[in-house]
């Protein structure tokens, strides 16, 4: 077991992302966070969904699993329950996590399985070449909404807090240092940690560009926000919309300590399931109960 450098955490597979994509910065920040925390590569599992974000598991040299569209959190949850000594990270896009995988998104918060969930939130479907996503703004013109999106945008942070999230944060892909710090805190958090990463899709989202975000984002910690204050967190989660997209907070919205699923499951108290033996004597004893 040894800590891995950023270089060691890189694979030889050539990224398929467009030049200028927010994913590059996001991954650099994640690799830095993993390296600085000294988490060994072989003890890390990165599960991705399908979409541009789905390639995540290919480019970071840990154990990786590229699941189905919308299903990174589910495979990641299974991994964590099987071996809770692993550091488990799930990644996916906004369509992946807030659209097709929204049921899993919702229930992950109340379940509180210890893992980090990073959402590459670019408010568009990139890999399928530019349709509206759950976080596309109302009125946004896309390939599937050429006359303007009729639906209001999904609010992942407010939903996460309401659903029982114990770590709800947002980062901006244009601020790598800040993003890295948030990732580090998420990785260290005991419980299910959501980091919604605002990032431009340089090819298909002409509205939410780097410059557009840059003008609007600000850091919650600089504004004196107390992440333990749930009501204030909820208010901040709505600020983007209530300010008419004038002010978009980033940082840790809400954080609380709550026992995790792993901590509360009696079967896991003696160590990861991976090492558990078959309870043959108990099973044989159970035969008697049918007599």
């Amino acid at each position: 077991m040894m800590m891995s450098s950023v270089l060691e955490l890189t694979t030889k597979e050539k990224p398929q992302w467009c030049p200028g994509c927010g994913n590059f910065g996001l991954h650099m920040a994640l690799k830095n966070a993993l390296s600085e925390l000294g988490i060994p590569r072989e003890k890390t599992v990165l599960v991705s969904g399908v979409g541009c974000s789905g390639k995540a598991s290919h480019y970071i040299n840990t154990y990786g699993f590229e699941s189905l569209h919308g299903r990174s959190v589910t495979v990641a949850s299974g991994v964590k329950l099987a071996n809770h000594e692993l550091t488990v990270i799930a990644e996916g896009g906004d369509g992946d996590g807030y659209g097709i995988g929204s049921a899993h998104f919702l229930h992950s918060f109340r379940r509180n399985i210890d893992m980090t969930y990073i959402v590459h939130d670019n408010s568009i479907y990139g890999l399928t070449t530019g349709q509206a996503s759950p976080t596309s703004q109302k009125g946004m013109k896309t390939k599937s909404t050429p006359h303007g999106n009729l639906e209001m945008a999904f609010n992942p942070l407010a939903v996460a807090i309401a659903a029982g999230g114990t770590f709800v944060a947002r980062a901006f892909a244009g601020d790598m240092a800040h993003m890295k710090e948030i990732f580090k805190q998420a990785l260290q958090h005991k419980g299910f940690a959501l980091v919604d990463v605002l990032q431009p899709c340089v090819t298909f989202n002409k509205l939410n560009t780097f410059a557009w975000w840059q003008q609007r984002v600000y850091k919650l910690e600089s504004a004196g926000h107390d992440p333990k204050n749930k009501a204030a967190a909820m208010e901040k989660a709505f600020e983007e919309m209530s300010s008419g997209y004038a002010k978009i907070p980033t940082g840790i919205f809400y954080k609380e300590e709550r026992p995790t699923y792993v901590e509360e499951a009696p079967q896991l108290a003696s160590g990861p399931l991976i090492g558990h033996a078959v309870k043959s004597a108990e099973i044989e004893k159970a035969f008697e109960e049918f007599m």
Partner: protein, 610 residues
């Protein structure tokens, strides 16, 4: 007399299932073989619930249609069973609660009006305990040993304290004494009797419980599932035992998550499975392909019920075989096993976990409502027969990989199976996933690689046939003039049908398939050549397994006997159809649909009372 068929019926909520199970155990405590067959509509209160027990000195494999004694706790039970009581059979009812016109039953029948409610309440019991009175009364009428029922009641209620035990025993005894003293002449003229055979004890268990035990014995550590009849009792049983067996039960938000959790856990090296029925399995279809392409083991316990859509949730059918075989896009291999009795359920559950691990693919264990929820008596399971095979899973650290390189998780091998390091193993870092890939897991849109990977995965088929395929088993005389072919749940039913046929001078044997896919065409062809006349018996409309045999083995049975009305075949139905065929000189229709008109009455019962 060698056997006795007893049935109790009433509304859901009257405790039909519990008293049925108690009675079933009372029979097996007397060394008898028994099958306890419950039927119920899809609702929690009201409707018509029944529990039938067929018990006998010889091995009982399946329920029969008719009964010697029916306990009617409500009027519909009496109405529905008028034609389902053997000549000279009996009913027990309570005229204070159930108005029955004796004229509706033939003069040959014994109608025993027992004050079930009054005896229950007079002896300090609740209204619901009229069941227990009825059990005692039934035992008196059939001449069975009341002490065996008392033993079962004593053990069942031991946890609730001596007072509850005493109360139950007293109430059962009241029913027994009432019939013994007040219905003496009727009891004496009722000629169906059943006697204790020995003191030997057997298990009384359902298919789902046997599957759950087999899975636990086979090293299952996580069951992630979403409730769906008739699979739910796999989860219920394991949940109740989760601490003793050290198995984690995760009820998820939907079936997609259920199978996904299992895939994730298997990827991390822990045996995990899910249990579901057709509707849930539909939602799992995409992940089935994920398991196949990422070569991650996953085991699915699929308990069939009639489809399509929600259809008949609490009834039975064998119509998801082709769906199990073809679900999910693309072409890939999967293993399908369909056990036919309790020992096979136990062993197959463990075997499915082995096959999934060994061949790194989805393994599906196919049962159905009939097999999953019917109680069968059987000897204790053999733990010693369960072997755990993890295949090429790697758990020890490997030599370090070159910088920035990844482990060749999808190494092209002769047998199609690649070594599989699990997370935590240094030197095994790799990416597994849903895209076609190179040996090292990187996405490949290279045609030669794509073709090579398809071939690699398909090569597992040869390995399975060589190492793990099991030929179907024969039961009965080798020189039979007729072979009843069947799969999964219909084994016992076919065995009983063959028994009836042989008692009527038709020598029949049974060929039962557990290993439904893949199929060893070469050896099956050889075996089929030896067969005389064949009748394929399937609980579906389109003879799905016959279709699969035709496609993969090139075999066609002479006759197909199909039933798809929501219930399994009854042995008598198979026997009478076969006799009819023989009477016509085997020249009748090649495909016969059996529709049991009685089931419609049952199905309507729920609707009417809703």
């Amino acid at each position: 007399m060698a056997e006795f068929i007893w049935k109790i019926g009433g509304e859901a909520g009257m405790g039909i299932m519990a008293s049925g199970l108690t009675m079933c155990k009372a029979f097996t405590r007397g060394g008898l073989s028994a099958v306890g067959y419950p039927e119920y509509p899809s609702l929690v209160r009201g409707g018509e619930n029944t529990f039938q027990i067929r018990a006998g000195a010889e091995e009982i494999h399946a329920p029969l249609k008719k009964n010697h004694l029916v306990v009617c706790l409500n009027k519909p039970t009496a109405d529905f069973h008028k034609d389902q009581i053997y000549e000279n059979g009996a009913i027990i009812y309570d005229s204070s609660a159930t108005k029955i016109d004796p004229g509706e039953f033939g003069a040959d029948k014994t109608l025993l009006d027992v004050p079930l409610l009054k005896l229950a309440t007079d002896n300090g019991g609740d209204v619901i305990m009229r069941n227990t009175v009825a059990l005692g009364a039934s035992i008196a009428l059939m001449g069975y040993d009341i002490s065996l029922l008392e033993h079962v009641l004593t053990e069942t209620f031991a946890k609730k304290g001596q007072q509850v035990v005493d109360e139950n025993v007293k109430i059962a005894r009241a029913g027994y004494d009432y019939v013994a003293h007040n219905c003496k002449s009727q009891s004496e003229s009722f000629k169906f009797k059943i006697k204790k055979k020995s003191d030997s004890k057997k298990m009384v268990i359902t298919g789902n419980e046997a599957i759950a035990l087999g899975a636990a014995a086979g090293g299952l550590k996580i069951l992630s599932a979403y409730p769906m009849t008739p699979s739910s009792s796999i989860m219920h049983y394991l949940a109740q035992k989760e601490l003793d067996f050290d198995v984690l039960i995760k009820q998820t938000e939907d079936e997609i998550a259920a199978v996904q959790y299992a895939v994730g856990a298997n990827y991390a090296g822990v045996r995990a499975a899910t249990a579901t029925s057709g509707g849930g399995f539909s939602l799992m279809a995409e992940t089935l392909g994920l398991s196949a392409l990422s070569e991650t083991p996953v085991t699915i316990f699929l308990a069939q019920r009639p489809g399509p859509s929600t259809c008949l949730p609490t009834w039975t059918e064998q119509a998801d075989l082709k769906f199990a075989l073809n679900a999910s896009q693309g072409e890939f291999l999967r293993v399908i096993l369909a056990p036919g009795d309790m020992h096979e359920c136990f062993q197959c559950a463990a075997k499915a976990l082995n096959l999934a691990d060994k061949y790194q693919l989805p393994a599906i264990l196919l049962s159905d409502k009939y097999l999953s929820e019917t109680f069968f008596s059987c000897d204790k399971f053999e733990m010693g027969k369960v072997k755990i095979e993890r295949g090429k899973m790697l758990t020890g650290n490997l030599k370090p990989l070159p910088p920035n390189a990844r482990y060749k998780r999808y190494l092209i091998t002769k047998d199609g199976i690649s070594p599989r390091p699990i997370p935590g193993v240094a030197g095994g870092e790799h990416v597994a996933g849903s895209y076609e890939h190179f040996e090292n897991g990187y996405s490949a849109e290279t045609f030669s690689v794509r073709a090579a990977m398809v071939d690699k995965r398909m090569r597992k088929l040869t390995s399975i046939l060589k190492e793990d395929f099991e030929m179907p088993k024969f039961y009965g005389p080798e020189d039979a003039e007729l072979t009843l072919m069947c799969w999964g749940s219909h084994k016992g039913i076919a065995l009983e049908a063959a028994k009836i046929l042989s008692s009527e001078g038709i020598k029949a044997n049974v060929l039962h398939f557990i290993f439904l896919f893949p199929l060893d065409a070469k050896n099956l062809k050889k075996l089929f050549r030896k067969l005389n006349r064949t009748v394929m018996v399937e609980n579906n409309r389109t003879a799905q397994f016959a279709g699969i045999l035709k496609e993969y083995v090139g075999f066609k049975p002479d006759f197909k006997l199909l039933k798809y009305d929501g219930r399994q075949f009854f042995p008598e139905e198979i026997a009478s159809e076969v006799k009819r065929l023989k009477d016509k000189g085997w020249k009748g229709k090649k495909e016969i649909h059996v529709i049991d008109d009685l089931s419609y009455d049952y199905l309507q019962a729920g609707k009417v009372e809703r």
